[in-house]
Amino acid sequence: MPILLVGLNHRSAPIQIREQVAVSESDLPSALTALSLHCPDAEILLLSTCNRSEVYVAAADLRSRREGILRFHADFFRQDLNLLDRCLYQYEEEEAVNHLFRVTAGLDSMVVGEVQILGQVRDAFQAAQAHRRLGTVLDHLFRSALAAGKRVRTETGIGDNAPSVSSSAVDLARKIFGHLENRTILVIGAGKMSHLTAKHLIATGIGKVIVTNRSAEKAEELARKYQGEAVEFSGFPGILRKTDIVITSTSAPAPILTRDQIKQVMRERKNSPLFLIDLALPRDVDPTIHSLENVFLYNIDDLQAVVDESNKEREQEIHKAIGIVDREVERFLRWFHSLEAVPIIKALRSKAEKIREEELGKALARLGNVGDREKKVVEALSAGLVNKILHHPLVQLREQALKPDGKEYLAFVQKLFGMDLSEIESQAQSDGTRRAESEEA
């Protein structure tokens, strides 16, 4: 089976080498042209992203292709072959198919589940199409890979962002408040994590930002950054009446928010929900506050637990994705294996035979009471017609199947005569059993 893949990725090559063989979108056509010079009479495709650089080739004989690809790399990128050779991996046939499907689904990326790769593969495919060196095999291969990638994206959650402490805090805020547009957030202290979280929240469209800090200038500076308001540290418990989300991480050795304070605040808020995110160590907020009605206090451990839980689920989703990819690879391979001349010829013959028998039956029925001689004449007519019409096409089929673009031909014939996979496969199977029987004999 004539599919070959030679390439390198973020695991096999360091960035210094990867950047040497990267091809930008605008350079792709000339790269493809150079590649085709070193790989004549073959289907070619070049996939180049920040994570990987891979060359896909489909040709009748693969023996000399690897050298061709290496020479292309040496020439086009002016690279030391020895250096490259150590980083390059090679896959053939089923392994190549498997690899491509996984790559397109995002399973081979640095950030597993990333969705950018789908678009990148699509771009590489379109560039190769425009270059007109794509044939049946690579065309169908990449279409199937893209379809599988799309399935993985819609049917699993691997495309969801990997969770972090700050993203979990944002998700939680949304789960408590729903829309955040009319909500107010208070950021206490200048801890890095709390500001990362605040930025996250602001990005999702929080209504108002209030900042407070022991140092008034720091507070002003941050308030300006967030286009919010700064308040005095001494007066800040009062401001809690109007804030819905509080993120705190000061270096205070003892809690700066006590139970009594919050109890009072909740009375003033008429029990409107309050979400406290305590990212400080030692903690800034008295932990018993969590038991107050409609107060939700989460510290850094709690958020990390949320992250761990999400990661567990991602594992499951990746598992699901692999399952989908495996099934799609199988489907592609079935199609590919059907591109064999003998089963197709047999399937074509049996299809024609079926039609002949049907029409013969109808004709005989219409003729009604007819003598044996007449029946034999009609039968001979139908058989002669079918055989003569099919003779030349089948001879051609057998010949063309052996040529470099043979698979192309076979695929076309499949389409032309409307043959489906099951017809061809049953022929291949019966072929196999018959061969086994004759070998035993």
Partner: protein, 270 residues
Amino acid sequence: MEGISSITAIISYGLAFALYTTELFTGKGRSSLYAHALTGIAAFFHTLFLILWGLRIKACPLISHVEAIPFVGLVVIATYFYVLVRYRMLGLGPHATFLAFLSLFLSMVLPKATPSVPGLASHWLVFHIAVIFLSYGLLAVAFSTATLYLVQEKLLKEKKLGGIFRKLPPLEELDSVVYRLILLSFPLLTLGLLTGAVWARQEWGSFWTWDPKQTWSLATWVLYTVYLHSRVVMGWRGRKTIFLVLIAFGALLFSFLGVNLMKAGSHQFG
């Protein structure tokens, strides 16, 4: 034909319920879409059933409790779809389909009412019952949403933020929907109470007889009023208001079903 409609509806509701429940507890399937479709189909046959029934007895099928129950079930489903579309409120599927299923099931199992007691065909009565049961359907969904609120709140408090937590809507949105449904149903409830009194005057000569049904209906109305007052006028939020919703619904159930089981008072008509 009636029987077939009813049975089709019941089976569809049952299947939808199963799908909604499994989707709530397991992965990221698309089974909720199938569940929505099944619920829609069930609702169609449910409506058909009520129409055919009405045509058969040549009257509006709202006179006796046995006939009223499936009507309430249909209102529940209609409210469910409204809330689903307008507020994207997921998670109510199991409740809604269960209530609708129950409503049809009960109507098949409970003994049917004897044909109209004379004097019960008054327009006031039909209007009273229709309005009351419309509000009951809305309040049933409000109750379901309130229970979801309590579930979410508990999960948040216990910091168990797994699958179910993620599938259910945000806390504040649940609270908001509870409020809106009760607000929406309140004029209907009030109107129902008033028209009931008018009809009582017509039938028994006095607006208020303090029979158990009227008393409990009034209690229900008062409880919902207290809820609205504390939510709107006083601005309160949180678990206490939700508990009020649960208690109020308890009173509603009692006035709807419990009183009849006691078989006392002038509200009895089979």
